[in-house]
Symmetry: C2
Subunit: 256 residues, 2 copies
């Protein structure tokens, strides 16, 4: 791994649950030498990617990341466009609705709306969603580039629950069904007791760039509810795609 990759993997050690880490801790978790870790942190700090708490000497992610993220968002207003529709969908379904964007080889949760229920599905921003075992992942794959699908199916497929599909052929079938239906259904493939439906949000070239999903406890989920949520999530995804692409759905080449 190059030095740049090492620096970035240091950044990736920070999570919502552990947003501040000490030098030794970072060195231990990354596997890098303490001196190396420190040098990388100093470099990152110099550009605002990392900040050091003056009192505890612990490190945390810096404001420079927010700035670049905002520049990206200005060109690619995925969040601004999608969040209002995520809210609407959360209000109408009264279940957890989450929005994700494709990252390196998984989907990244970028926004979540939780319902008022005590018994609800909780998802954190930043949570990574594997492609093969989540409703969002399957919805994404249904409109992803062939290379992406191939890379996913030929990689190692982890079973998160006893319900997780790990047979490439079965997953391919699920993807094909999703493409026909317009939304995906994932019955406890990622977490026991959670049933999700999702639909792909697509760029002007017709390929998926993210997903919107509704996740609910299976206690509150009937086949009729699945179909209802599926149609709603599909409509929301379609609306977001249209708004992103200048109201012009004709430009979506690979339509289902």
């Amino acid at each position: 791994m190059g030095t740049v990759g090492k620096a970035i993997s240091l950044l990736e050690l920070f999570t919502v649950d552990e947003p501040e880490l000490g030098l030794s801790d970072l060195a231990r978790r990354s596997g890098f030498d303490k001196a190396t870790t420190r040098r990388l942190l100093v470099a990152l700090t110099g550009h605002g990617f990392v900040e050091q708490d003056a009192a505890t000497r612990h490190y945390r992610l810096g404001a420079g990341l927010s700035r670049l993220a905002r520049i990206r968002e200005a060109r690619f207003p995925f969040l601004q466009t999608a969040v209002p529709l995520v809210r609407d969908l959360a209000a109408s379904t009264a279940e957890t609705v989450h929005l994700s964007e494709f990252g390196v080889d998984a989907l990244v949760t970028v926004h979540v709306e939780h319902p008022a229920w005590a018994n609800r599905v909780n998802i954190d921003i930043g949570q990574l969603l594997p492609l093969h075992s989540t409703a969002s992942g399957i919805a994404y794959l249904a409109f992803a580039r062939d290379e992406t699908v191939k890379a996913c199916l030929t990689g190692s497929l982890k079973a998160f629950t006893t319900h997780t599909l790990i047979d490439p052929a079965a997953i391919s079938t699920s993807i094909a069904e999703t493409r026909d239906r317009g939304y995906s259904i994932c019955d406890q493939g990622f977490e026991e007791g959670v049933i999700s439906v999702a639909a792909a949000i697509r760029a002007a070239d017709g390929f998926a760039l993210g997903t919107i999903a509704v996740a609910a406890p299976n206690a509150r989920t009937t086949p009729a509810a699945i179909a209802e949520r599926g149609l709603a999530v599909m409509a929301a995804a379609r609306e977001i795609s249209m708004r992103l692409n200048g109201e012009n759905l004709q430009t979506l080449r690979r339509q289902a």
Copy 2:
């Protein structure tokens, strides 16, 4: 400069105005060799910090940045905390109120509320505010670390208008006055016809981490209005600081 710094300075070439750049362009602007530039871009792409457009082969900032930025905001809820007070201040002053956070060597605008007036001051999110020539910058410097102030005053000081203070001694005086008064006043130092007042938002260690400012056309600005807005912006900054630091103003060591 280390390799990590080079990689980050590549990222910093992307702006709101030019969010997508080609390889040769990036190499030219960064001053790095084309091979070096490419290798850095590949490393960054591998972690989702940049993406390459499949059609144009141009590069843009990636979703990995958004993910990390969100993790930061989850721990350090600057925006969540401050936005309600920005709204309140915008409502009570009926002028443009903007919130900024310190980046590497300037303030970054992270939130703006505009009034209903047709004649108003417009500010974009992401806009960089120089430290020496804006109300926000002076307010920040009044409670910044000595190194930061020194670095600012010894650097080159650009005059944006005929009113911009570019004499280090004059700026120092303005900083000292701001520290005593509790808020800064900038009369057309950044843009003709705009008068702003600002106050520093401070971390638990007492040092500034950002600012809140009211910007108004000078046509609507009297000395009395300046004083009124100054007191309001100071109160808002104080409230945000307190909420960020757990309601405990005692921890603000460097009080005015």
